[in-house]
Symmetry: C2
Subunit: 337 residues, 2 copies
DNA sequence: TTGTAGGCGTTATCAT
DNA sequence: ATGATAACGCCTACAA
């Protein structure tokens, strides 16, 4: 309708469409005066290059997709979500790319949606928040040779570009903090076992114990989903069963740590006096609860930015995938331990 | 490259490209057998319709944009953010649309970015989280006649499609709850005055007071940004200055209510014994703090879904903008009041 | 029911 | 330095 095209501008400036195109992409040599002329015509007519048409002729879109890799509701409750987007957006913005979200009801449809976007050319690459140990999406991305970057870790990372924080190390250091502070029997409240984060953090916990000559006890490892309610149930069981034989609980997620704190308080335990508690992720509420939660801060904004940067290098510069960037996580010592 | 086109399918199935096209859009009448034939060819070759090309020929993209309408960092810390996306995504997904995020460093660049996406055809319409009283973006959207839907309210809503919760009414009811429970001097901790939400909630507070024959006192109204730190400073001032002459504080945002609670506790006030506190938004932390925060739950997921639905009606069915949907907010009574 | 041809807005190649 | 022309992948009259 009222779409102003390159031809309108050309006509108005009395030049050919190609000339206008050249000013837009200001690479080829154009005389200063025609350039000026065309610029004026563009302003006059209110011309804006049609991105769709450019994408079509260039055979690639200027969009990146983001797939959260777990049911939308869970992902949204997750403090990662806003920050990862913030990081990615800052980079896409800088490089004039757009960010497309795939947010479906369940993981299967989200995975299919992401693939569809790739296949139909809507997006040029994908950023995947890798969660599951056995991730079908990743396998298919590798097979299909689509550009993608992993935020997190997958069991086999060969040839996969990824950015991660060192969950194992951070969990180890947090466990060491418990030990340094003379906690002697530290329980672990971890997440579902098909999540890579769960496994990594469990491993760090175990490493620290063994290094300190403490026994790793299966009985002290409890598991729950990454929700408050599930965490609360697990915490209740944990405290009921291990009773007063433990003096610390390391939860692999702040929301689980919150559940532990609440459960402990309801049982009359003082924190950190009777039981030390630590979390992971440094969610917004970690610093607001009483006592403030000692936790691990993950540079999630930076991870997002880095992921986008890596993906754009693959897309724009044909970089070979396979790079790994492990960003450091920081322990935030507060009052719960 | 390895892009399979409609022509490849046509050749393989030994039909013309238009026939394939017809199968894709299965509207025109096609004999069952050719349809079958083409379908098989598509599967065989792994064909996927190129969305870019479709957008170009159809002269509109199948993407919606979302602009958060305040600095990214603020917006992200805001509990609205994940939920509004969830709501929008569920609707876009259902109608085979994509969701594009505009997330820039500051409001100005975000606004420009959104406009750019509209102008260059990347998105077919925009959902705007209206925040400011004097919102330039909205003015320009109206002028340019781009399809958009407001989540929230703008000073002049004529001809603007929008979905909102009734902030005034909810604030009034919350204030009435204070009054019903025999609180007698209720202070208000509100947000910046150029935000529509602040104003609306202030108004509800005032209405309730006046209706109950209580005096509206300017001195009891404090203002801060929507951040914990800013809220904390305001709360400190509030409690220092009004001293023990007040017995309730209504904060127009949970994060501010958290700040009030903390400040009150530090001063030795018990909650709700000495001071009743209420918030707004029902952020995740509201139910987790001690005492659990009485607040207003906003149906933000539904608002997002509704906004997307309205926008798609305008885009797809040429509906006239101007509809308003006001969704009910619910008071969540917990322990802080 | 199916095929042919032209065009959506842009860029790239080849002339001039 | 600039212009004409042919794509990019798809859709849609119009024709057969």
């Amino acid at each position: 309708m009222d779409q102003v095209t390159i031809k309108d501008v050309a006509k108005y400036a009395d030049v050919s469409p190609s000339t206008v195109s050249r000013v837009i992409n200001d690479n080829s040599c154009i005389s200063a005066e025609t350039r000026q002329l065309v610029r004026e015509a563009m302003n006059k007519l209110g011309y804006h290059p049609n991105e769709i048409a450019r994408s079509l002729v260039n055979q690639k879109s200027r969009s990146l997709g983001l797939v959260l890799s777990r049911p939308a509701d869970r992902a949204m409750a997750n403090p990662f979500f806003p920050d990862i987007i913030r990081g990615i957006a800052s980079e896409t913005q800088a490089q004039q790319f757009q960010l497309v979200l795939t947010a479906a009801e369940n993981y299967d449809s989200e995975r299919n949606e992401a693939l569809r976007l790739l296949q139909n050319g809507s997006i040029a690459g994908l950023i995947v928040m890798a969660a599951r140990v056995d991730d079908d999406l990743i396998r298919r991305l590798v097979e299909s040779d689509y550009p993608f970057v992993l935020v997190g870790r997958s069991p086999n990372n060969d040839g996969i570009s990824r950015v991660d924080n060192d969950n194992i190390r951070a969990a180890r250091r947090m466990t060491e903090l418990f030990i340094d502070r003379r906690y002697e029997r530290i329980a672990l409240l971890t997440g579902p076992e098909n999540y890579v984060v769960s496994r990594d953090r469990e491993q760090g916990y175990r490493q620290a114990l063994e290094k300190a000559g403490l026994e790793y006890e299966e009985d002290l490892v409890y598991r729950s989903d990454f929700t408050y309610d599930s965490g609360r149930r697990a915490a209740d069981r944990l405290l009921a069963e291990t009773g007063e034989s433990i003096d610390g609980v390391f939860a692999v997620d702040d929301i689980l740590a919150m559940a532990v704190m609440r459960s402990a308080r309801d049982r009359g335990f003082s924190i950190p006096g009777d039981i030390g508690v630590a979390g992971f992720n440094d969610a917004p509420l970690a610093s607001l609860v009483e006592p403030a939660l000692t936790t691990v801060e993950i540079p999630i904004v930076d991870m997002g930015r880095k992921a986008a940067e890596m993906l754009l290098e693959i897309i724009e510069e044909g970089a070979e995938p396979g790079d790994e960037h492990i960003l450091p996580a920081e322990i935030r010592i507060r009052d719960s331990l």
